[in-house]
Symmetry: C2
């Protein structure tokens, strides 16, 4: 999927919502455990009720890997289900991978080709040759960690380089601008650091940003839009727990749909406020 | 496994060799493709022939994930096979994970509990709360990326903090000393940066170091021992391609065993030279 198609979907659905599929088998309604693939069953129901309001889904790999081979099958079934029923929806493998070149190449194949996701999140610690192998699939994306939403982001991301006087997350943005472009690279910026979006937009005005941390982690959607939106929207705002675990009964999917609709409504107002639609 | 047991194994086998199981289904001998789990079959043969010379095995997750659920099964079979037949051997899931706390907790469960590996490699970019969830399993280890063996390690790891005048990899070492200790944390230091081991040993004199990059990537075993060895050896030197792909015929395992024996021999000389045994 290219950025034009993604923006068309945002305008069509009046939403820049990404629903995080952090599907924890311990937290899903008990009646789903009777199915052979409870995690897929949960996801399928969530997708059916939220897809009208979402432009992206983001399965979090940890929640699938903790189930071993069965988790990987549930993940593949989930991606296939979205691709078949909602081919316009962008799928992000939230995997935070990154390794030496020949290994990153394998991860890229696993997520972008075999599993057929549209994007994969990548950690930049190992530098250029750990990131570029993910950039060799047409129409596929790297979403590089820049400034994350957790407290530990202060430990290294906010350290200032003595030579350039830039912080590490700024160096990640600056250097990676040469590795990829706005058609194959996005950045993770936590909503808990919304005020930093102003500075980040100076460096990457045109790139899409994936924003976690609205909701459960305390970030504000209004601030994210105020400081982060560009003329093509340029934002995918993720919400996981507040949507998928909003209800734990057999009405879980309906309630998730309502929560997604509420977020879509808020997003529509912001898209109008900033004259994107 | 604790550091005392690991050191006992090193003295017993006169080796600090870690064999990297970067098992690429495209590279294994063709006759193995007749088996239901060719990757496991390859690993089993490699393990049978190299276990006398190795104190650790390191499956590289990318090579298993690219096979989907079948890859995860082959990985589980491999770990189970080592645990059953060689319970003294240390198993490292080379996964380079790291995410917000509740996600790192899931990865920790997947690798250290469910899969029952002894250690998992972790990327430090997201800071303290992305690393500490991996430290809550008794006798299990985090192996944190400090200074990696690839060219991209210069991009961020070698950047100098304007406040402390320390480089990022030094900050990773310094800060993480408070998160864990020498009984639950090791560090990745690439053999291609062997001369840096002298500085690194000033910061972490007692911790074990996992050293990739000897062999295919050009690092020198002698320099690694000269600059990195401590009184408990303190090193696990990994070799993947030079051992497991030394031969592509039906003699692949025997030849891998010979290559592992050669490395063990070199390591025995170094352990004697530095009076560890």
């Amino acid at each position: 999927m290219n950025s034009k198609q993604l923006f068309a979907n945002i305008k069509n659905k009046k939403s820049f919502l990404c629903v995080g599929l952090d599907t924890d088998i311990q937290k899903i309604p008990k009646h789903l455990l009777d199915f052979e693939y409870p995690v897929f069953e949960f996801n399928k129901n969530i997708i059916d009720e939220t897809s009208a309001y979402a432009v992206a889904y983001k399965p979090n790999l940890a929640f699938y890997e903790t189930l071993g081979a069965a988790g990987w099958i549930a993940l593949q079934m989930t991606v296939d289900y979205i691709k078949k029923n909602h081919p316009d929806i962008f799928i992000i493998a939230d995997a935070k991978r990154g390794d030496i070149g020949n290994t990153s190449k394998m991860y890229a194949k696993a997520f972008l080709s075999d599993l057929n996701c549209d994007a994969v999140t990548v950690a930049p610690y190992m530098g250029e040759d750990s990131v570029t192998p993910f950039l060799s699939y047409d129409g596929k994306w790297v979403i590089l960690l820049a400034l994350t939403s957790n407290s530990g982001s202060d430990d290294f991301q906010m350290v200032t380089d003595s030579v350039s006087q830039k912080r590490i997350f700024e160096l990640v943005l600056n250097k990676s601008l040469v590795w990829g472009n706005k058609e194959n690279m996005m950045y993770v910026v936590g909503a808990t650091k919304a005020e930093m979006l102003k500075e980040i937009r100076q460096i990457v005005p045109d790139h899409f940003l994936l924003i976690p941390g609205v909701g459960a982690q305390g970030g504000s959607l209004e601030e994210v839009a105020e400081f982060g939106m560009n003329s093509q929207c340029g934002l995918l705002v993720n919400n996981s727990r507040n949507i998928i675990y909003a209800d734990a009964t057999d009405k879980f999917a309906k309630v998730a749909g309502q929560k997604a609709a509420e977020m879509q409504h808020d997003m529509e107002l912001l898209l109008k406020k900033y004259k994107i639609i």
